[in-house]
Amino acid sequence: MNLVKSYGGVRAVDDVSFVVDKGELISLIGPNGSGKTTLIDLISGFIKPDSGKIFFMKSLINNLEPFKRATYIGRTFQVTKVFQGMTVLENLLAVVKNKQRATELLELVGLTELSAEYASNLSGGQQKLLEFARVLMLNPQLILMDEPFAGVTPSMIDRLLEVINTLNRQGVTFMIVEHNMNLALRLCRRCIVLNCGKIIADEPASLIPSNYRVIEAYLGE
């Protein structure tokens, strides 16, 4: 609620307030530098807000460190952060030592054959998939994904969309930062649009293409 985060004189997030209900599938879109990643960092605890409050399940979590928030909130990063010096399987086992679950998740994202491979040997798209599988190891209630489809092959994107939809139907809440508006609108029911750190639209995805403020933010006046 009323989140503000500034860097020097720039307000990266400017008085942003919104509520996410359990089981929602929300896309967070906006032009470059609109504050999407900063917002994800604020929610997951990697940066602290200058002011404003963040609640999760009615509890104030402003002072919770990121590793404590990770009990409920999983996230991926814009620049993929897999553990390069570990194998694909170890990347998942680092979360919980549950080999059966790790194997199932690798199967889910299509990385089974690469389980003994060092993560540093994977392509950018494969690393995105591995990072997603790692988040799923946490069994979080809310998953924040920062550009999860960048560098992923079209067939794998379809598979990822399917996995996200399946998990969402099972009650997992998603908030997805996506540059590709078509993809975002195809995936999500609700869309929050940021521009210059402010929310300029928060409405059903179907209404976004005809929203004049969104078009203006993307294409200019």
Binding site: F83, N121, L122
Partner: protein, 323 residues
């Protein structure tokens, strides 16, 4: 139990080392091998914090000094047997490591800044020991000579007992490193090393893990300090706690492969005898220092991941898709 080829190599290697004193009683060979084990051990202890957790320290000589001085002072002043002094020294070193690591890790000091912090702390401690009456100032601490005794950890006639003690210490730290590397805690340390933010995002309490790694690394280093005090029966700040000792501790690991278990062992077997041979042959400390410098340059320029790290990269890592 099925053993892989690595386990057989280790068993063969250490069996050979166990029978060396049977084959030769040369003081020179035994002394050199003791120093090889000593630096391999120290480098493995350093490797737990630097290689596994990614927190490079240039102040491990401080922990070595704490172990050496605690054992020596407790024996000389209170008569406490060195084996107990060794445990007290390890505990003190762990506490000291927690004391300096908590504020540094808590406030996000990492990378070059952490290296400089550890260097500064070790240097301050060396200076304190140099001017403190309790630690014998620059004169250090000299042991009263006693008859050969395992309990008193003193052997004058023969170096063999020191050889076996250090060899057992080395095997123990290899075992500890193996256990850590293959545990959930070990995976957490590797995760922190690779990316601290990502580690936090998967519920890892990075501060706690780094503190535990620092405490274990310091305690194990102090054990070697206690051994060093008993081995030389004389300690003083410059030979126990100087920056050069800290560099000697990390060199085998850098050469052999930081973050690997075999790396520090390989590095020490290559570097320590070379340095000693030059020291003995030419009697000049400066040559020994040149070797350190040249070794460091070669490692950084040619094999930044060390010997074991390079072998793993090129021969062991699966390469289905490596371009």
């Amino acid at each position: 139990m099925r053993l892989d080829i690595k386990a057989y190599v280790y068993i063969l290697f250490f069996t050979t080392l166990f029978i060396v004193p049977v084959l030769t009683n040369s003081h020179l060979i035994l002394n050199i091998l003791i120093m090889v084990f000593f630096y391999a051990y120290l480098s493995l202890a350093w490797n737990i914090l630097a290689g596994f957790a990614g927190q490079y320290s240039l102040g491990h000589a401080a922990y070595l000094g704490i172990g050496a001085y605690t054992t020596a002072l407790l024996y000389v002043r209170t008569g406490m047997i060195p084996w107990l002094g060794l445990l007290v020294g390890a505990a003190l070193a762990a506490l000291f490591a927690l004391g300096i690591s908590y504020p540094t890790f808590r406030f996000g000091i990492k990378g070059y800044y952490y290296i400089l912090t550890t260097l500064a702390v070790a240097e301050i401690l060396r200076r304190i020991f140099l001017y403190w009456d309790l630690t014998g100032r620059a004169d250090g601490v000299r042991y009263p000579l006693k008859p050969d005794s395992f309990l008193l950890f003193q052997f004058h006639m023969d170096r063999t007992p020191y050889y076996y003690i250090m060899l057992v210490f080395l095997i123990l730290i290899l075992f500890i490193s193996y256990i850590i590397r293959n545990s959930q805690f070990g995976l957490h340390l590797l995760a922190i090393r690779d990316d601290e933010d990502a580690a936090q995002s998967i519920r890892i309490n990075t501060l706690k893990c780094k503190l535990i790694a620092a405490a274990i690394s310091a305690a194990l280093t102090a054990v070697a300090g206690a051994f060093y005090a008993q081995y030389t029966l004389f300690i003083e700040p410059d030979t126990t706690m100087s920056l050069f000792i800290s560099i000697d501790i990390l060199l085998p690991s850098l050469m052999g492969g930081t973050g690997t278990i075999a790396g520090p062992l390989i590095g020490s077997f290559l570097l320590t005898p070379l340095a000693w041979i030059f020291r003995i042959a030419y009697g000049a400390e400066v040559l020994h220092m040149i070797i350190r410098g040249v070794a460091l340059m070669i490692i950084v320029a040619l094999i930044p991941k060390g010997i074991a790290g390079t072998v793993i990269d090129y021969y062991i890592r699966p390469r289905h898709i490596k371009r």
